[in-house]
Symmetry: C2
Subunit: 199 residues, 2 copies
């Protein structure tokens, strides 16, 4: 079965990423070997090194792909100008992007400790970029009567933390439908930041 | 150096817990061996089994000790009757208890996946007990004009998530002192839940 490097890579690359993501999320990065990942994909351990020089590169590639997708998806969104509408849009976007990506979210938070210092700097910068989108919305309505936010940085972290945590407990078919969860968190976030004339 | 079983256990037990906690937090439960824990404590691997039958027992003992300490410390607090004051008390308590326990908090959230089903049930029940303290406060002020909370369960989870996340970034000597961080989060939480006449 002769295959070109290109087509082999196209199919196997994503399968390696998917296998690594599932195994890292289940067992933790440090407990997973390259051999295990190869076994999950159904290739020889040696073949894995055609795609990635080592496990660290695989980890940072996964985390980077997650952050890149988050940032590019948000960049393609039609964000309203009005600060209140932009905040509501952000809350819905954050929940909808993260809920179906439980494993990626888990790794993104848990395995920061296992990144090399250089890789940590790269991922941290991407996280800051995302946080800056929310902080910019808060700043844009702050100082007017729309928002009344004492510390836009901490409020950004608080909002992202409470929204991301939904991924740890939300299950389809539970007490509340996703749309209801979104409405409840929207109301909580809006109340956290609203000024005298905020919506 | 003859030592009684009692004194040996008194000294070594806590050292085993401390070593396991540090290693689990650093590398993840699945990546740490009983041999590594023994090495960190400075005892033979075999000696470890005098204190704990296996690694799973050590993990659940750590998580249980953390939750037991959280619940007993809260139970000893003088919680105000007024719902607003009780909520403010809870926020301060949660931040002050969790900030100095970074490793225990990290393990409590991250290693739930590695608990056996029976142990997971035990730890989940303790977490629910703690969440119920906050939900009871929210319910006690809800339906009056003090609080206006649409879903006390989700609001409980949101508050605990945003407060616990502080442990991931707060460092002494940073931009804000702990007292300032507490004040900012107190204000955010109070605004999330307050009714027409809330403080």
């Amino acid at each position: 079965m002769a295959r070109t490097q290109g087509s082999f890579s196209d199919v196997t690359g994503p399968r390696i990423h998917a296998a690594a993501q599932a195994l890292f999320a289940r067992h933790g990065y440090a407990a997973v070997s390259m051999r295990q990942i190869a076994g999950e994909v159904g290739v020889q351990a040696g073949a894995l090194y055609n795609y990635t020089p080592d496990k660290q590169s695989l980890l940072v590639a996964l985390m980077r792909a997650h952050m890149d997708e988050l940032l590019s998806t948000y960049a393609a969104e039609d964000v309203p100008d009005d600060p209140c509408a932009a905040l509501r849009h952000f809350v819905r976007f954050h929940i909808r992007f993260h809920l179906p990506r439980h494993d990626a979210v888990f790794i993104a938070y848990m395995e920061l400790r296992n990144l090399s210092p250089e890789n940590f700097t790269v991922i941290e910068a991407l996280r800051r970029d995302y946080e800056t989108h929310l902080e910019t919305i808060l700043r844009s309505g702050n100082g007017t009567s729309v928002f009344d936010v004492r510390d836009t940085k901490l409020t950004t972290l608080a909002i992202i933390a409470m929204l991301t945590e939904i991924t740890t407990w939300y299950r389809e078919g539970g007490r509340l439908a996703q749309a209801e969860v979104e409405e409840i968190y929207l109301a909580l976030v809006c109340r956290m930041v609203r000024g005298a004339e905020g919506g």
